[in-house]
Subunit: 159 residues, 2 copies
Amino acid sequence: MKEYFQDHMPENVCFGCGIHNPDGLHIKSYWDGEEAVCNWESQEKFHGWANLLNGGIIATIIDCHCMCTAMAHSYKLEGRSLDSEPEYRYATGTLNIKYLKPTPNDKLLQLRATVIEVKGKKTVLECGLYSEGVKTVEAQAIAIRVFDGSQHDGGNLFK
Amino acid sequence: MKEYFQDHMPENVCFGCGIHNPDGLHIKSYWDGEEAVCNWESQEKFHGWANLLNGGIIATIIDCHCMCTAMAHSYKLEGRSLDSEPEYRYATGTLNIKYLKPTPNDKLLQLRATVIEVKGKKTVLECGLYSEGVKTVEAQAIAIRVFDGSQHDGGNLFK
C-alpha cells in the first residue's frame, strides 16, 4: 500500500494538498524510487480553454506536489518517518513553469518530481506533468523550509 | 466606467477569467494607463496555509491576468476595440513566479501587469501582486498568440 505524504500533514487546509480542505484538489504524492509521483484527475470546472486543464490549476498541483516532496525528502535524508518530530514544512520560493503543449482536462494526469539539490533550508526540484505518457508541462521549484518545529507560535511562521 | 477585458471574451469558460465558468475566479482586468490592473477578493477555501492565499491560486490569477492583458494590448497596438475582428487569443508559454512574502487571504488584492516586449506572436509581461500596497509576489509571463481568427476550427487551436 502506498504511503501518501499528505496523510502525514495534520491540520493541512491547503487548497491544493490539504486533507482538511473540503473544496480542495486533494493531491496525493508518494515515492516511486527517487521520484515523487502524484496521479490526479481534474474536474470540468478546472478547464482553461474548453476540454483543456487551466494553466493556473496546473501550477497549483505542481506547486503543492513539489512542496510536499521537499518535505518528504527532508525526512528521508534524516532517515526518519513522516510522523516523527520535528515537523518540517516548506513554502514556495520560486516556481518556473514551461507549458510545452495543451493538457487534456478529462484524462488521468501524472506528476513526477525529483529533488535535484538541497542547500540548507532550500530544496530545488524539477517536476513534469504527463497526460497518457506525454509530457505537457515542465517546471522547476525552489522550496524553502519555513517551519522546523523550533517556532513557538503553533507551527505557522507566516502568522 | 471601467472597460473590463474579460467582458469582451465570449464563450470563455476558463477557471481563472471566464465569465461563463460559474465556479471560476472571475478576475476582471482593465487599463490604468500603461498598466493592466485587476482587483480581486479571495475566498476562505483558497487558502494554502490558514489565512494565507494558496500559491497556486496566486499563479492562476497572475496567469489569467497576464494572458488577458496580452490580448488587450494586441488590440490596442492595432488601434481597435476589444469587440473588433479578428479575435486574438493568447496561451501561456512560460510563467516564472517569485513569492516574496505571504499573501493574506482575507484582504482585497491587486494585480498590476505591464507589457515589456512584443515580438511577433509573443508578448512578455511583468506582473506584481499587492496586498494593501505591499508587493507580495512578482512574476514574468510569456504569452503566445494561439488564435488570430485565421483558423477554421471554431477558434480553438488546441483542438
